[in-house]
């Protein structure tokens, strides 16, 4: 089961600021709800885990992340992530290409293309949820990312963003309200999704 997600997210900050968050996997991982880097096994290889909680469903995926390309001149980063859940009954992988592009009025735009593949029990029985969950995760990721970039800036907006970063929930489920607001909004404005 594959879910393809294409997202664009405008950020009111210079491209270089966004790129500094994007290129640092440790910081980047913190933007992902429930995700963390647990170790570094090579120059561009890391181990990490993601805890996903959807309603009563709770699952912890552990695996490897490989940064397969960093293009400083085009602010583009590519990574492959692979993992399996703790019970060994589901596998998941993600290929992501993300780049920072110049936006309007000195701002920038984060452009992400990802393909998420899910195998095993999650795909067998959770298929109807995967679409929505992937979408939710990415949307939240984008919001967190944006906050981190903004927090590095100055002024009131930066302070507010820093506050949100500090309060950023560890898992997806606790940010229901916020999520509820952004999901429909983002999907209509930026999102297009395709699943197979």
């Amino acid at each position: 089961m594959k879910v393809k997600l294409e997202k664009k997210h405008a950020i009111d900050a210079p491209p270089a600021a966004a790129w500094s968050v994007l290129r640092d996997l440790n910081v980047l991982a913190e933007c992902m709800p429930g995700a963390s880097i647990t170790g570094q096994t090579g120059d561009n290889e890391y181990t990490g885990k993601v805890s996903v909680k959807v309603g009563p469903v709770q699952s912890v995926f552990g695996g490897t992340i490989q940064v397969t390309g960093i293009d400083e001149s085009n602010y583009t980063m590519k990574l492959d992530a692979k993992g399996k859940d703790q019970s060994g009954t589901s596998n998941a992988s993600m290929q992501l290409t993300a780049s920072v592009q110049a936006g309007e009025g000195g701002g920038c735009e984060l452009v992400g293309n990802s393909e998420i593949k899910v195998m095993g029990k999650m795909a067998n029985f959770g298929g109807r949820m995967i679409d929505g969950v992937a979408d939710q995760l990415i949307s939240q990721f984008l919001a967190n990312f944006s906050d981190r970039v903004l927090a590095a800036g100055e002024g009131e907006a930066a302070a507010e963003a820093a506050q949100r970063v500090a309060e950023q929930p560890k898992e997806l489920n606790a940010l229901a309200l916020l999520w509820g607001m952004i999901i429909g909004f983002l999907r209509r404005l930026f999102g297009s999704k395709e699943s197979s």
Binding site: V54, G55, P56, V57, Q58, S59, S87, T89, K121, F125, G126, G127, R128, M129, D131, G132, V133, Q136, N173, A174, A176, L177, W179, G180, I183, R187, S195
Partner: protein, 288 residues
């Protein structure tokens, strides 16, 4: 198909349940009818460390009328809803929908509260209670609060309920005037989840639609109200052209997930068709 182990708690009161919930926090899960949660636990998608069974709390069961409001305890089973004379008279939409949920055995266990709190877009009662203009009563350690059904569902399996809260009752305004309602559900077979379903409740006044609510099941990440359709019909005599307008709005409000039951196009089209049928039936029942 064996659940992981857990500690079991069977509180006798809401207060006791809330204190257990506060004590065990994130590792606790509330058990109502169990026909969503237990299968998930058996498949090991869910593995709470503490299960707090609400079945022993008598206060959470029963259907009564308080003035113009019907109050349904959250642990009232679907079969109790079907059997209720009060609902048959004052909110027939609810028993009509309950009859279309699962099967007789499941309806003996399945509760209105569980159906709503689970936040599953495929569950029937979220859309139905939305169409019935319901308000949910939540109790938590900080007391009681009321959340309108239209504001409760935030995403797939995401609701406005806080982890330390319990849904205690559902409050529905009793039908007034010339009303008609219908829940029309397209499904592969009896008891199955909706491929698409529409709940409609409307009031006629002098041949015109004075009030209407339309909500859809399993056509978006949550049950959805089709506000644009409601606006279009309100204050009008409902004719075929307006029904068509409502169906178009229902389709526009749909954002379904493709599965074996249908692709996005089919489900979207069925959102329209179920809406047409539900409005027509409601009109017929209202004598319009």
């Amino acid at each position: 198909m064996i659940p992981a182990n857990f500690d079991f708690h069977a509180p006798a009161s809401v207060a006791e349940a809330l204190s257990l919930l506060a004590e065990h926090g994130d590792g606790a899960k509330v058990l109502a009818g169990g026909h969503s949660l237990l299968p998930m636990m058996k498949m090991r998608f869910a593995a709470p460390q503490h299960l707090i069974d609400l079945n022993g709390i008598a206060d959470l069961r029963g259907i009564k009328r308080e003035g113009d409001t019907l109050v349904i305890g959250a642990m009232t089973t679907e079969n109790q809803i079907i059997a209720s004379d009060l609902l048959a008279a004052d909110c027939p939409l609810l028993p009509e929908a309950a009859r279309q949920i699962a099967d007789p055995q499941v309806r003996n266990r399945g509760t209105i509260g569980g159906d709503i709190c689970h936040g599953d877009p495929a569950n029937d009662l979220p859309a139905v209670t939305m169409a019935a203009d319901a308000t949910y009563v939540l109790q938590g350690s900080n007391g009681e609060r009321h959340v309108h059904s239209a504001d409760f569902f935030l995403g797939s399996f995401y609701t406005a309920m806080e982890p330390d809260e319990i849904l205690t009752s559902i409050r529905i305004p009793a039908a007034k005037g010339v009303t008609g309602s219908a829940y029309v559900k397209l499904k592969r077979k009896i008891g199955d989840w909706a491929t698409a379903a529409a709940a409609v409740q409307l009031t006629l006044n002098g041949g015109k639609c004075s009030e209407i609510r339309i909500a859809l099941t399993n056509l978006a990440p949550t049950a959805v109200r089709v506000a644009a359709a409601e606006e279009a019909l309100k204050g009008q005599p409902i004719d075929d052209a307006l029904i068509e307008v409502a169906a178009e709005h229902a389709m526009a409000a749909s954002d379904p997930t493709a599965d074996l039951r249908g692709d996005v196009e089919y489900k979207t089209q069925m959102a329209g068709e179920m809406t047409r049928r539900a409005i027509r039936q409601s009109l017929a029942r209202a004598g319009g």
